[in-house]
Amino acid sequence: MDSQNTSAISSAPTFFASHRLRRNGLAAQIAGRIGSGMLVLWAAVTLSFVSLQLAPGDIVSLLIGEQLRTPEVEAAIRAEWGLDEPLLSQYLSYLTRILHGDFGRSYILQTEVSQLVLSQILPTLKLTTAALFVAIIFGLVSAVLTAGRRIPRGIAGALELTLVSTPSFWLGILLLYLFSFTLKLFPVSGDRSFSALVLPALALGLPLGAVVGQVLRQGLERALEEPFALTVRSWGTSGLVLRLRHGLRHAALPAVTLTGWLVGSLLSGAVITESVFGRPGLGRVTVEAVLGHDLPVVLAVAILSAFVYVTLSTLVDVLYLWLDPRLRSDSPEAAR
């Protein structure tokens, strides 16, 4: 299998179902994808280790950040990272620690990094999942209802353009002003109830949904131009059923690829939304860690985001196989 000797960088987020997928059986195809995902993760961890070694200044002061350097702390760090041992065993113990979910200690926040990340990841996951939900619903409705219809299409297009070009913090502030301050329908900040999730999810999800909607609509329109659309309609199928049952699956292929990319970017987009709505979350932790040179936290977030990208890209590839039987290698076409 050649994905094993492709360099990890170039095989990184292959969001497009590559022709490599066409070999072997379906299970082997999926296993191959997961395998190359693991490679990418390993590369990310290694890169984080190497960057620590190559960064200017000694490792101890890098890890301490702006915290006061006392002999006790320094000794603790040296022990934790095994800095007196040879480089290879440092690397191996680093790998082992990461594998066990131990991301070290933040000396600035005086806490275990893994605990910090775990406590903050849930609100972020909630927000991004809700935003994704908003995006998909918005994209689907907008595409299915307006594809191929001149005037509704124009209206939806204009709305989507507005949403895409509106920065999400501005959208957030507008939503807050309208629904929280004026109509008092939703809370202004925090993460205590489901209703507190609504506005941030809209602010984060709508611009994404606009992009997804455009791609879905284009795909849908292309599918409706295909000869099979005429065949399906000649069976007496209604236009809506044609769109939902036949067209959407064709349109989903490019949209899935795009959504995979965009969900990854949701994580970084979450930073701003979390600040505007005063929500806890990984985004704020990351910003504070970067500003405060809290390297253990930054490294953990970097590895985590690599993990998210790899998971999504694998999911996208598997979804592709499910959506398009022609890509499955058990088909005779694949032999060509």
């Binding site: 295909e226 000869p227 099979f228 065949t231 000649s234 007496g236 036949h246 039987p325």
Partner: protein, 546 residues
């Protein structure tokens, strides 16, 4: 008895801005129960849009003084009314099931859709019915086919499955729009046989085709359509034997066959694909093609013992042939027979596992591309799909001129040569600045031919160059190819699945099946007295004019 379809003064127009572009100008169409009616004409004649208007899917403005379908007046029908009619009263079959069935859904799911029970999971009774239906259209082992996707079926099975979806709800009328156009000859025969069976059983069929030979066997009545009008109508026998309209005559003459060998298929003065028939009064007679000059002493191409393995089997298995200057060699076979692989080996795009290719007596296969490059210009390709072989952002001048770069013709010389070959393919200098998208199918293939001839090649490889064209356009392209070949003395390797075309154009033929050459020899000998059963089967499958 009341006819199934009774249409008077049908007009169809596409709105274009504030105006409208009328494509059908007041035609009458009557189809009685049990009848097989054929609507024949070239692309752009309005035949397909007429067929679509019968199920309310023309996407245009339809007018008529009378429009009755199975007892319903459909003028003023809304989409809801049309939906009730589609599938239940009229079934519709398009060409090429690979794209006319949803490629992402299983056969069983699509049959369920057609039965009117759409869903991801198929109900048991629907599955039962589907199995019987597939059996009735001659699909052996339907149980195996139901869970498959269209691309997993062979061309013939796929087309049968498509027909099955159209007749699922036992419509009174089946409309088939070019139902066999993309198919191999033997598969085409099977599908036509299926229609013949249905005809025997008393079913009604409206057949749409550009090829009179295809409808000759089936149709009771033929309507010949040209530029939105019915120019001639009558019983099939009469239309075929005594065509009254010159356009019908032209369509008949355009069918390449044994009897057309050495003669032109199209009227000599025809220059444009869709030129109005100025020669309507001229009674067409076949004009002879210029004689060929075959120089048997000069071997342009010789291939010996070519073998190419693919997966577990052979794509090409021990194929040898030679080609002399000015000669035309045909390779005929069905899809998967290995004929295109042979072309790719000759072009040096893939290396044979064993065997050698000599071009002009010099070794060609198993050489580095750097060594081959200087000789590349002496070998040119004409592909089936001209459009996708052009850079869409290039003008015709750049497309044709590109082939001159390799032989070092630049500047004013290059422009002169481009105009020269454009004149030779009857396009002329006015086409220099056109883009591929602005050209008709026939014009594109002419540009492809001009590009191929521009560097004065010794060998021309044409891979199904006319398969995507209407019979009448095909006739013009074949004539052009024959003329240019005769004038230039270029050797021609012509690959086709169409025996009529091969018979018409080439001097010698290789019949290929499963990667092997099963029969070879002079075209007239091979086709007059075939020795191999496969050649006979192929010849039997060719739809012929009586």
């Amino acid at each position: 008895m009341m006819p199934l379809v009774d249409i008077r003064d049908l007009t169809i127009a596409f709105p274009r801005g504030s105006q409208e572009n009328r494509v059908v100008h007041g035609i009458n169409l009557t189809i009685h129960e049990g009848e097989t009616v054929a609507l024949v004409g070239e692309s752009g004649s309005g035949k397909s849009v007429t067929a679509r208007a019968l199920i309310g899917l023309s996407g245009a403005v339809v007018g008529a003084s009378r429009f009755d379908i199975v007892g319903d007046g459909v003028l003023g029908f809304r989409e809801r009314d049309w939906r009730r009619l589609r599938g239940s009263k009229i079934g519709f079959v398009l060409q090429d099931a690979l794209v006319s069935l949803d490629p992402l859904r299983k056969v069983s799911q699509q049959l369920a859709d057609a039965f009117g029970h759409p869903g991801y999971f198929v109900r048991r009774d629907v599955r039962e019915e589907s199995r019987a239906l597939l059996h009735s259209v001659g699909i052996p082992d339907p149980e195996r086919r139901l869970p498959q996707y269209p691309h997993q079926l062979s061309g013939g099975l796929r087309q049968r499955a498509l027909i099955a979806t159209a007749i699922a709800r036992r419509p009174s009328l089946l409309i088939a729009d070019e139902p066999t156009t993309a198919l191999d000859a033997t598969v085409q025969k099977q599908i036509l046989d299926l229609f013949a069976e249905r005809k025997q059983a008393g079913h009604t069929l409206l057949l749409i085709s550009h090829d009179l030979a295809v409808v000759a066997r089936l149709a009771d009545r033929v309507l010949v359509m040209k530029q939105g009008k019915i120019v001639e109508e009558g019983p099939t026998k009469q239309i075929l034997s005594e065509p009254a309209h010159p356009y019908t005559r032209r369509l008949l003459d355009a069918v390449p066959s044994a009897s057309s060998r050495g003669f032109r298929l199209s009227p000599a003065t025809q220059t444009e694909d869709n030129a109005p028939s100025l020669h309507a009064t001229v009674v067409c007679q076949r004009l002879p093609l210029p004689p060929k000059r075959i120089d048997a002493a000069q071997r342009v191409l010789s291939a010996s013992g070519l073998v190419k393995r693919y997966g577990g089997g052979f794509a090409v298995n021990n194929v040898s042939f030679e080609l002399a200057a000015g000669e035309a060699l045909g390779i005929v076979g069905e899809s998967g027979s290995g004929k295109t692989t042979v072309a790719k080996i000759v072009l040096g795009l893939i290396e044979p596992d064993s065997g050698t290719v000599l071009v002009d007596g010099q070794p060609w296969s198993h050489r580095s591309e750097a060594k081959r490059r200087a000789r590349r210009a002496s070998m040119q390709l004409i592909a089936q799909d001209a459009l996708s072989s052009f850079d869409p952002r290039y003008t015709v001048e750049k497309i044709v001129g590109e082939s001159l770069d390799t032989v070092g013709v630049f500047g004013r010389d290059r422009r002169r040569r481009v105009i020269e070959v454009l004149d030779a393919v009857r396009l002329g200098a006015t086409f220099l600045d056109r883009y591929p998208r602005e050209l008709s199918g026939g014009q594109r293939q002419r540009v492809a031919i001009a590009r191929a001839f521009a560097p004065r090649p010794k060998l021309l490889i044409a891979d199904e160059p006319v398969s995507a064209l209407d019979v009448s356009v095909q006739a013009q392209v074949l004539d052009l190819l024959a003329e240019l070949q005769a004038a230039s003395g270029t050797a021609l390797l012509f690959i086709s699945h169409d025996l009529g075309v091969i018979h018409h154009l080439t001097d010698r033929v290789l019949v290929m099946k499963d990667g092997r050459v099963v029969e070879t020899g002079a075209v007239e000998t091979v086709f007059a007295s075939p020795t191999h059963s496969y050649t006979r089967a192929l010849l039997d499958a060719v739809p012929a004019l009586p």
